[in-house]
Amino acid sequence: MDASLIFAQSLSGLSRGMMLFLIASGLSLIFGVMNILNFAHATFWLIGAYCCYTFWFLMQDYNFALWISIPLAALTLAALGWVIEVVLIRRVYNRDLPEQLLLTYAMVLVLGDLIKIVWGVDDKLIARPPLVADPVFIFGMPFDSYFLFVISVGLAVAIGLWWFLKKTRYGHIIRAAVFSREMVSALGIPIPRIYTGVFALGIFIAGLAGAVQAPVGSITLGMDMAVVIQAFCVVVIGGFGSLLGTFVAAIIVGEVYAFSILFWPQGALVLIFVVTAFILIIRPWGLFGTPTRA
């Protein structure tokens, strides 16, 4: 095997990793701040992909259709996340873990069927705009030019989230709320509104991820089922609530997949769970998490 193949494979692993990061970062943010594990996260991701398709379909005569559809889909999902938080999630803040899990699991089923009702059972395909239609050649190896876009969106979201949480006033409030809800609310900051905002932000990123995913292949019902588990694994490996951890873990999982598909295709899907179980056994709080949460 020569160097250019390894390079191409690691680039495709990176784009897969960035895709996983986009899904897992919102999941990790919501869990880190609200302590709610959102089973429906990948279902929102899938809705984002379908929304992107619809916006693209309405504007398909124009070359720029896709580039407008992606942010539109993400904003639609943010609004949906806002509503769901206010109507459902808010009612289970103080419940036990199993009840919260069940509520979000039930949302997977309900939203999954609503997707079927709204968009039907046929696969949806977005024709790519000319800018990303042809592969680019890197060291003589063909590489899907759209994946370069995926990688840059992933990096942009990582940097944007980091900047938001570390450098802005709202980011500071959110991080303070993780450590002491009582203190933050004693300072006159409404915790429910912070939670709603965080949930909407998480779902916004999920929607963005879905919209970015949409032109990669066809959009199919039930795609979310396998993805949500992989996103869980990424969050677990990185450590709950750690953005850096999620980022590193997503790249690890993406690369492990890209190279195992080369050497041992049957085992590629099993391997992620082996890695996850291994991490949970030796270091339950993940690579970058803190033991206090365990």
Binding site: P98, I229, V270, L280
Partner: protein
């Protein structure tokens, strides 16, 4: 004693049930029994040990594949297949549980799920042995229970026996030790109990009965598929237990009756079963914590009043 009277009545009712309902509903009844056993075995971990196993389908699926493979590839009699199913699932639970009982809460849930998904993808990919995603076909029960009514009585006999064994376990000192671990693992450790060992034993027992339930499913459906081990299958006993109520021994069975009956009923006229059950679950979580059994107990304190509801808090 009134409780036992009720149980006796229910048992007699289940005995005469096939005489009064049609063949379709006998199928439903068999499924209720199998899934009820699966859900009760799940509740040994959830209700009595206080941990949410989100990979319980692994043992169910392992049991189903043990019996299925034996029946397709050999001529071992069914009861021995079922025993081997229990042993297979128990050994699997021993290996997985050895690691899982070190964790609690969300970590326990995710680790059980990760192991469950590992098994799922192994079965899914291993075409030469498990048939991959084609599953296994032609698992025909022996002649003496090939009629659905006969299979119903066979299942009723085995499930009742298994439930009695699990009930005895849950009412034994061991069962009360599990409740102590659920309510306060640290204090239980302080009085000299090896918490991990007890949790592991409970995990293995729960896995064995899940394997038995899985074993019963293959010959009933005549086929099995790897989806039996997938994570949505692990959600089914969780649903049943939450609908029925986790704090009574028979709560998951009540949940199985409601869930399976609803499934048979709803799928009769709409394909949107997930939507229906999803809305039911949201309703139960928001307005009926404690499930149907919890509701019945708060409304009619006399029935089973001696069982405490304290863990609800």
């Amino acid at each position: 004693m009134i409780r036992y009277g009720w149980l006796g009545l229910i048992f007699i009712a289940t005995l005469i049930l096939p005489l009064v309902i049609g063949e379709y509903w006998i199928h439903v009844a068999v499924e209720i029994l199998i899934m009820g056993l699966f859900a009760v075995s799940f509740n040994m971990i959830f209700g009595y040990m206080g941990q949410l196993s989100f990979g319980h389908a692994a043992y169910f699926g392992a049991g189903a594949y043990a019996t299925g493979l034996l029946m397709v590839k050999t001529s071992v009699p069914l009861p021995i297949c079922l025993a081997i199913s229990m042993i297979t699932a128990g050994v699997l639970a021993l290996v997985i549980g050895y690691f899982c009982v070190r964790l609690t809460g969300i970590y326990f849930a995710i680790l059980t799920m990760a192991f469950g998904q590992m098994l799922y993808y192994i079965i899914f990919q291993w075409y030469s042995f498990t048939g991959g995603d084609d599953g296994l076909q032609g698992i025909v029960p022996p002649d003496w229970i090939i009629q659905v009514t006969a299979y119903y009585y066979f299942t009723l006999f085995i499930v009742t026996g298994a439930l009695i064994v699990m009930w005895v376990i849950s009412e034994s000192p061991f069962g009360y030790t599990m409740r102590a671990i659920r309510d306060n693992a640290d204090r239980t450790r302080f009085i000299g109990i090896n918490v991990r060992k007890y949790m592991l034993i409970n995990f293995v027992v729960a896995g064995m009965f899940a394997g038995l339930a899985g074993g019963l499913l293959g010959p009933f459906n005549r086929s099995i598929a790897p989806d039996l081990c997938n994570w949505h299958q692990s959600g089914v006993p969780v649903f049943m237990t939450v609908i029925g109520g986790p704090l009574g021994f028979l709560g998951p069975v009540i949940g199985s009756v409601i869930y399976t009956f609803l499934f048979a009923f709803v799928t009769g006229f709409t394909e949107y079963w997930p939507l229906t059950i999803g809305l039911v679950i949201i309703f139960v979580v928001l307005y009926m914590p404690g499930g149907v059994l919890g509701l019945v107990k708060t409304k009619f304190k006399t029935i089973g009043a001696e069982e405490s509801m304290d863990a609800e808090a």
